[in-house]
Symmetry: C2
Subunit: 252 residues, 2 copies
Amino acid sequence: MTIAVIPVPGLPLINPGDDLGQLLGDAIDAARVGLKAGDVVAVCQKVVSKAEGAVVALEEVEASAFAKHLAARTESGKDPRALEVILRETRRIVRMDRGHLICETHHGFVCANAGVDESNGVAPGVVTLLPRDPDASAERLREGLAARFGVTVATVITDTFGRPWREGLVEVALGCAGMDPLLDLRGRADLSGRELHHTVVALADEVAAAAGLVMEKDSAVAAAIVRGVRFTPGTAGATARLVRKPEFDLFR
Amino acid sequence: MTIAVIPVPGLPLINPGDDLGQLLGDAIDAARVGLKAGDVVAVCQKVVSKAEGAVVALEEVEASAFAKHLAARTESGKDPRALEVILRETRRIVRMDRGHLICETHHGFVCANAGVDESNGVAPGVVTLLPRDPDASAERLREGLAARFGVTVATVITDTFGRPWREGLVEVALGCAGMDPLLDLRGRADLSGRELHHTVVALADEVAAAAGLVMEKDSAVAAAIVRGVRFTPGTAGATARLVRKPEFDLFR
């Protein structure tokens, strides 16, 4: 079945306290694309964080001695107060080298600057944090869209991550609701009849990457509908499973 | 613009020496989806490797002492001769732990078992290797499709990779032709007018992941058309750029 990746433009600049679900529904209506049962609605993290008030004004932050040391050491030109915010979001610094900080967040995500971001639609002197609980954010959006449009859909909160060893950034899933983020093919036979032993597909990440093709980083497209994906309706808290458990992580 | 991800089923089981470009064109015709200018045709690595004869019969392999040692040590149940093939494809062992071998291939890809695969459509006792030069493989397919259908298209050879820290596998681009694998947004202004400093999108990987949504690992869909992607026509050898250069690799 053909999958359609439909951009949803027209979300306004989001401010803390905005009802993102309603604004998203309005944008879907304005785009005249509707919502169908089984659609996956992808929304970029930045607008979710802003609506939830997961933003910090740097003027209210006092940089610690270590944040000041990092600002001098990383040579990234970063404001020591932004580094202080990054440290507050960090459970573990994974790499600290050549102006880059790769951090494990309190959620368990491993990403640059613990997901703290100064760019793309954020006011000067204000940084965004990752949503406190991206699965809960996704669930709230899912419930709102399902109620408004009267169909069962899934939602994915996406963010733009780098990867070790590979150039460039891709959209990945921070949270999701209404779908199992993993597609477990273990035990199914492959083309030669041999059992597939290891294949668990990160379906939510593939959906996020597909949505990334229309959610351009320099445009106002902050959401997309991915239509036609075959997924298993998810259970609450399923997305946390995209974070690899320490005991299965060869790269700790 | 909406992007369509169109499965191309119907590729037969591929044997060494098969003209994959012709078989792929036949499958596109049979699926009645046509090819349009600007389409990206994604083909999974396995069929490319088989057509190119990048396969090894284990009965012709003699396992070295180290391969035998690994077979005993990794507890993966792997044939020592398969491990010998993996070692031949390996430039550097990145991790060797808990039954897993994460290798850097001679191309520079970092992946499980150096891309050597025993599953999915390979005959018993036969393993597939990654294509010697996936960009060249993509270019041959691109030329064949362009000549047959009379339109300018791009091609991507995809493979299924794991990632550090994140559960599950995703399709990534091993090679491509006719498109720049990276979308460089640096210097463009973001929504707040601030310059985007760091955003280079791994477009070919996002295309591969989107194609992965319809190229299921346990089905006979080994190719897909991704229609509507905005890309920059590529230059020869562009995909090698998806392999991060050692001096920019924080995870060496």
